[in-house]
Amino acid sequence: MIRLESICVDFGGLRAIDHASFEVEAGRITGLIGPNGAGKTTAFNVIAGAVRPSAGRVLFDGKDITGLKPYQRAQRGLARTFQIPHEFTRLTVLENLMAAASAPEGENVFNVVFRRGSFDAEERAIYDRARETVRFLELEHVIDVPAGNLSGGQKKLVELGRALMRDPKIILLDEIGAGINRTLLGKLADKIKLLNTEQGLTFCLIEHDLDYVSRLCDHVLVMAQGQLLTEGTVDQVRNDERVIEAYFGGGKYEAQA
């Protein structure tokens, strides 16, 4: 579904991604792991269009999307969450979710002023969907609170809610688990599984908790120092020497110790 072809990303003098190529297959839940600073979030930014690669191509369903802007990719069915929450601060939780939905009739400025009836049905559907999502994410008690006033974990849930509101083909989840309580996290895992099996929704998730990854993911990509180190099932990569090396030993980490 998503293919990176020898992608490079440079930030000033720092090469955050160095000729990385990998594929996120349709219908799967793929994990993306690796030590801090490996380039995982940057890879997501490249897929979503927020960061321009200095070399390489990004393919989405076989089509080259390297030149497309983030919103164009979103409109083609790509949704993402941010590692650091990017909530719409002054909008309420409900509005945050509703704003994320696509609303072609209601976002037409002519309709808004002169044809108020034209987006009623669309808006009603968005509202019902948002209510349902809020209920599922257990955010009902803060539904009318401006998102800027939420706790870190709640903001993460809003991030997830917005991605769900988009009706995407693929969702990129960047450390969605960080800061969310265990019970709810378990429920989220069930929901992700359900969306995957019932609706065939594709996921790619960055997560540091390997148990969580093993519970969800059929396939894991391992990144280290801007490159794809290896891939396989969780058990395969867990026992891979290079992975252990990247996490526990190796180069710069040893030098610091």
């Binding site: 983030p70 704003a99 609303a103």
Partner: protein, 315 residues
């Protein structure tokens, strides 16, 4: 006599206050909802004022036109031309971050004003345009004309308010506020940021142009000094901040309220000793600045702060 004098003083405050309420509504669409820092209000105001004046005055050798058209046509023309200017500015600057947009818009607005002052074949330069008609000018004259104009101005305010409310209470407005709050995630949620911003800027500038047109018809005479950025841009910003950025009612309250205070300070300042009177406009600025400080200390988000619109389907 004293009483009628006071009454018509009040009428004059309400007329100018209405024109400022329009400017505040327009700025609220751009800044309050859209987060676009327009520091060139005076430029769009000037374009509207001159457009409406040229369209409605009688044929003259001193300036372009006039075309002797009805006032309504003049005001629509003012909105259209100011909106087009806004579109041109937005196409160039809308990608800029807000502080840069502020600088770009102030520069472009000043260029527009300088063009107006210097292209005297069109605008009669610093001598100005005279004989600008009032709406229904053929039917009423004298002081009752002020009353008619008062009703006219507030009818326009009402229309613009209703439009602004519709913009605010809609998926369009919600997405616009989402873009204002977080551009990156609005982008990731499929919002075409540039399109929203261009639309927002054009709508706001068009209303600023209408406000400019109204002020030309009010004073019946128009010269470059009527578009002083201190009086137009600065004061409008103060009004919106005090009234409540992001709230249409706050915009109207801020416009009318600050204008009333501004007018009242004139009475005080005129009583000052002569050597101070020459500095009166600075003293008034200072007073208004202090007032804004005071208001914002007490009400952080203005007198009537932003509030999310109710959701229609809610039980």
């Amino acid at each position: 006599m004293e009483l009628t004098g006071l009454f018509f003083y009040l009428v004059s405050i309400l007329i100018a206050g209405g024109i400022y309420a329009l400017l505040c509504l327009a700025l609220n669409i751009q800044w309050g909802m859209g987060g676009l820092f327009n520091a060139g209000i005076a430029g769009f105001f000037a374009v509207g004022a001159y457009t409406s004046a040229i369209l409605t005055t009688e044929m003259s050798t001193k300036h372009l036109g006039g075309f002797g058209m009805p006032v309504v046509v003049g005001l629509i023309g003012a909105g259209v031309l100011a909106g087009l200017m806004g579109w041109a500015v937005a196409r160039i600057c809308v990608r800029l971050k807000s502080d840069y947009l502020a600088m770009a818009s102030i520069g472009i607005a000043e260029i527009m004003r300088l063009v107006i002052v210097n292209e005297s074949w069109a605008t009669n330069g610093s001598l100005g345009l005279a004989g600008i008609p009032r709406p229904f000018g053929e039917f009423v004259s004298g002081r009752s004309a002020d009353l008619v104009f008062l009703a006219y101005v507030w009818a326009v305010v009402l229309i613009v308010y209703l439009v602004a409310m519709r913009l605010y209470d809609s998926p369009w407005g919600r997405s616009l506020r989402a873009i204002r709050d977080n551009e990156v995630s609005a982008d990731a949620a499929g919002k075409n940021i540039e399109k929203f911003r261009v639309q927002t800027f054009v709508i706001g500038c068009a209303f600023m142009g209408v406000a400019g047109g109204l002020s030309a018809h009010y004073f019946r005479f128009l010269s470059p000094s009527a578009t002083d950025p201190l009086l137009v841009t600065f004061l409008t910003w103060v009004m919106l901040m005090a009234g409540g950025s992001g709230n249409n009612r706050g915009a109207i309250v801020g416009g009318l309220g600050i204008w009333t205070l501004w007018s009242v300070t004139e009475i005080f300042v005129n009583r000052l000793p002569p050597e101070w009177v020459t500095r009166s406009s600075y003293i008034r600025m200072l007073l208004v600045g202090l007032l804004l400080q005071f208001v914002l200390q007490k009400f952080r988000a203005g007198i009537i702060p932003e509030k999310s619109p109710p959701i229609r389907f809610r039980e």
